[in-house]
């Protein structure tokens, strides 16, 4: 009794472990449970255009985005015909550098990144970029106008954040004050100017402020510039402000490309350089997103998963991971139903062959090969050969039959011609041998019974193994194997009646 309890606890622990691993992967690594789940990948592309100068080598460098909380960059790509490309880090800022010795005519460079939203992603905090605000010489009119404005807003605010909010609100009023209007008309002709002026004003009040160039993640944006924004430091944190909308509390929709006021683009030896952005939303299967994510994430759990294997090995494992499902079917059929099969795991191998050959052609070929094999084997038994020689003879006959069937179906124009090679020949030879022994010892009825039993189990195993939901789950969550193991261990302790016994002992209850 004690060992029985231990086994139950053990198998439940296995099942529990599998389920909790699965839950972890679904919840925190965003693995999809079903195949058709999708996520959005944002593709942001920077397009740099410029004209070449005669007999000058070109050197272009662009500030690249750094890591950001909540948004993960899963892919970076730069495409540029014949340009040398390299990355550099200057003062904690990442830059992409394109170089070429001889350039002609108009040139286009692309740099694109793929971003997905991941609320659990935290960018490691690097050295803060502190910005020296360049204080411009301004006219006395501006100073006067701004001083009165700043003082009145300062009175109404409590700190840098509320000050900035009020300041932005002031400039967005429909009927602003005279001073505001004056500044607006003279110093805020473009959004960029507006941002720079706001930064000047905030800096003047002694608050820590920096400029931001960002992109809203909205689909189908083409040929746009970075939206100018600013950040104000308050209580250990930078607060992001849209210069038209005020403070942005939830910034998962905003991708920050540039921090600080240094040039976005730095071009030498070229003319008319410009950079434009486009944002596109791509819908992709959730698994590939989750996968490309952990390449970046270096999650230890996934670092030790099947996905680190080369593609070919992954495909092999896709099939191998289905074998336990087949074993589960075999255990259920034998322990609960009581179906007799010839050879315990022969049905699994058979169903693996069926996966390659398709079900119906596979069944027909199996029956054909075994029937011919049995006929040949019955002749061999007259010869009274020793076991090893006999099985080897059957083996050769099996290969011969397979070749014959392949050639025949090719001649008849059947497309399954060569898939017969997927049958495990050794297993077929043993099956024939075992069945012919059963024929001799227990008669043809038993052969038919065990043969059809094996076929039935392998067909069921085939359906279990080709079920797309199940195969998706076993490959993406190999830990399910632990649960299957637990279930099989539990079944191994099932001491109740089999269905076949309910039939067998029927006469005893009548």
């Amino acid at each position: 009794m004690k060992s029985k309890n231990n086994i139950i606890i053990f198998s439940f622990l296995l099942i529990l472990a599998a389920l909790s691993l699965m839950t972890y992967k679904i919840k925190y690594l965003n693995f999809p449970l079903f195949q058709d789940e999708t996520v959005n990948i944002w593709n942001i592309e920077a397009k740099i255009t410029f004209n070449a100068r005669k007999e000058q080598s070109a050197s272009i460098s662009m500030t690249l985005p750094s890591k950001q909380d909540g948004l993960m960059i899963i892919n970076e790509e730069s495409s540029s015909a014949n340009f040398g490309y390299s990355n550099s880090f200057i003062n904690g800022l990442k830059k992409g550098n394109w170089t070429k010795r001889e350039v002609q005519g108009e040139q286009v460079l692309y740099y694109s990144i793929d971003v997905i939203k991941d609320p659990f992603f935290k960018a490691e905090q690097k050295d803060e970029i502190d910005e020296e605000i360049f204080r411009k010489e301004v006219s006395t009119a501006f100073v006067q106008a701004s001083t009165s404005l700043l003082n009145s807003i300062y009175e109404k605010s409590a700190n840098g954040v509320s000050f900035t909010s009020l300041l932005i609100k002031e400039f967005n009023l429909k009927e602003p004050s005279q001073a505001t209007t004056m500044i607006k008309n003279n110093f805020m002709k473009t959004n960029k100017q507006k941002r720079d002026t706001l930064v000047q004003l905030i800096d003047k009040m002694g608050y820590k402020v920096r400029t931001i160039g960002a992109l809203y993640l909205k689909d189908r944006q083409r040929n746009i510039e970075l939206t100018p924004m600013l950040e104000v430091f308050y209580k250990d944190k930078w607060h992001l402000f849209d210069i038209n909308k005020g403070e942005i509390s939830k910034n998962s929709n905003i991708f920050i490309w540039q921090r600080g006021s240094q040039y976005l683009l730095d071009a030498e030896g070229v003319r008319n350089s410009d950079v434009r952005f486009s944002v596109t939303k791509n819908i992709v299967p959730a698994r590939s997103a989750a996968l490309s994510k952990d390449v970046k994430n270096q999650n230890t759990l996934l670092d030790f998963s099947l996905f680190v294997l080369p593609n070919e090995a992954q495909n092999t494992f896709k099939l191998l991971l289905l074998v336990p499902l087949g074993a589960l079917v075999v255990v259920i059929m034998r322990v609960f139903i009581g179906i007799k099969t010839s050879g315990t795991f022969m049905p699994i191998l058979l169903s693996m062959a069926f996966i390659e050959t398709q079900l119906l052609p596979g069944i027909l070929m199996f029956i054909l090969v075994v029937t011919i094999g049995l006929i040949v084997r019955s002749y061999l038994s007259y010869l009274n050969l020793l076991l090893v020689a006999r099985i080897s003879a059957v083996l050769i006959v099996v290969v011969g039959i397979m070749a014959f069937v392949a050639i025949l179906s090719q001649k008849l124009g059947l497309q399954y011609a060569t898939s017969i090679t997927f049958f495990p020949i050794i297993i077929l030879a043993w099956t024939i041998e075992r069945m012919s022994i059963i024929w001799e010892e227990d008669g043809p009825k038993e052969v038919l019974l065990q043969g059809s039993g094996s076929l039935l189990v392998s067909i069921l195993a085939f359906f279990a193994m080709t079920n797309s939901v199940l195969s998706f789950i076993t490959f993406n969550f190999p830990e399910v194997l632990l649960a299957v193991l637990g279930v099989i261990i539990l079944l191994g302790r099932y001491s109740g009646y089999r269905l076949s016994e309910l039939y067998r002992f029927k006469s005893m209850v009548d």
């Binding site: 020793l386 001491s495 089999r498 309910l502 039939y503 002992f505 209850v509």
Partner: protein, 324 residues
């Protein structure tokens, strides 16, 4: 009749209610494997039972009557020795020590000069017998084809009390011995269906035998009740096994010899020597329950209630005879 009713009717028609089976104490295959074979039969003792030569040797040490061992041959070079083994015998049997299902058993009922006569009257010569032995040694009849030993034993002369109860073959008594107590017994009669073999799943008739008296109870063929022998039409109720007490005692002693808590003993009756243990089985089947019309667990549970370990086989037989 709607679909659900029809369904239920079909289920009732073909399947027994599992709770009713449990109530009757009927032992199922899973239960047998886990709780009886798995718990009571130690793995290391299995070779004693699976290897007929070992069984025979240990049986002789324990004074358990078996068909007399004339000798055995292990290696091909010894094949000619068989002449020594059979020189004083008129009839003899050659069998593979680890054969299964009666394969590879050669029965010679008479020796005439250089010729040996099989039960069906066919004569075979020395060279035929040598080839048969060679085949046994190279594993033609053993499971998985491993090398085997050829065992020579004296021919059992069957008692004529079973005339008409068996067709072509050898009738034997299977006694299931649980923890040393004879629990269930069954006579196995070969039929034309079973091709002279005494295996129930091949179509032999199983006749449940009353432990108290040795008289027939029920009979089954292919797990379904029968009244008369299908070939000879002899009413099976008339069957009574002679030497019944000796058979039970013999079976019970096999427990002390093998230490197997769940054991099947196959016993034949020799005209001159009485009951002999032909072979033992560590995985006796479940059809014996149908032949007796009783669930095995009912009897096993009664035996389980005996708290002390009874080492005297005669007392164990007495217990079985009074309780079953």
């Amino acid at each position: 009749m709607n679909f659900i009713d029809l369904n239920q009717w079909l289920i009732k028609m073909f399947f027994a209610n599992p709770f009713k089976l449990k109530e009757l104490g009927i032992l199922g295959m899973n239960n047998r494997n886990i709780n009886y074979i798995g718990k009571l039969n130690k793995r290391k003792n299995f070779p004693l039972v699976d290897d007929k030569l070992k069984t025979k040797q240990i049986a002789q040490e324990h004074n358990i009557a078996v068909p007399e061992l004339l000798g055995f041959i292990e290696y091909q070079v010894q094949i000619n020795n068989f002449k020594h083994y059979i020189k004083n015998e008129n009839g003899f049997v050659i069998k593979p020590a680890q054969g299964s299902g009666g394969k590879g058993i050669l029965v010679i009922i008479k020796t005439v000069g250089n010729k040996f006569i099989k039960p069906n009257g066919v004569e075979v010569g020395y060279s035929d017998i040598k080839r048969h032995i060679s085949n046994i040694l190279s594993g033609l009849y053993s499971l998985g084809g491993k090398n085997d030993v050829a065992v020579f034993e004296k021919l059992v002369e069957f008692d004529s009390v079973f005339d008409g109860f068996s067709y072509e073959g050898v009738p034997d008594v299977r006694v299931v011995v649980y923890k040393g107590y004879p629990a269930l017994a069954m006579m196995r009669l070969s039929t034309s269906n079973s091709d002279g073999k005494a295996n129930l799943h091949q179509g032999a008739v199983g006749v449940g035998i009353d432990i108290k008296t040795g008289k027939a109870l029920n009979a089954v063929q292919f797990d379904r009740p029968v009244q008369v022998h299908p070939d000879t039409q002899k009413p099976l109720k008339e069957l009574k096994v002679p030497f019944w007490d000796d058979i039970l005692l013999l079976a019970s002693k096999c427990y002390d010899m093998t230490n197997m808590g769940y054991l099947g003993a196959d016993i034949v009756i020799d005209k001159n020597k009485g009951p002999l243990v032909l072979e033992l089985n560590a995985r006796p089947g479940l059809a014996i329950q149908i032949a007796n019309g009783i669930g095995a667990q009912r009897r096993f549970k009664k035996i389980d209630k005996v708290k002390y370990k009874e080492s005297d086989p005669e007392k164990r037989v007495l217990f079985s005879k009074t309780n079953f």
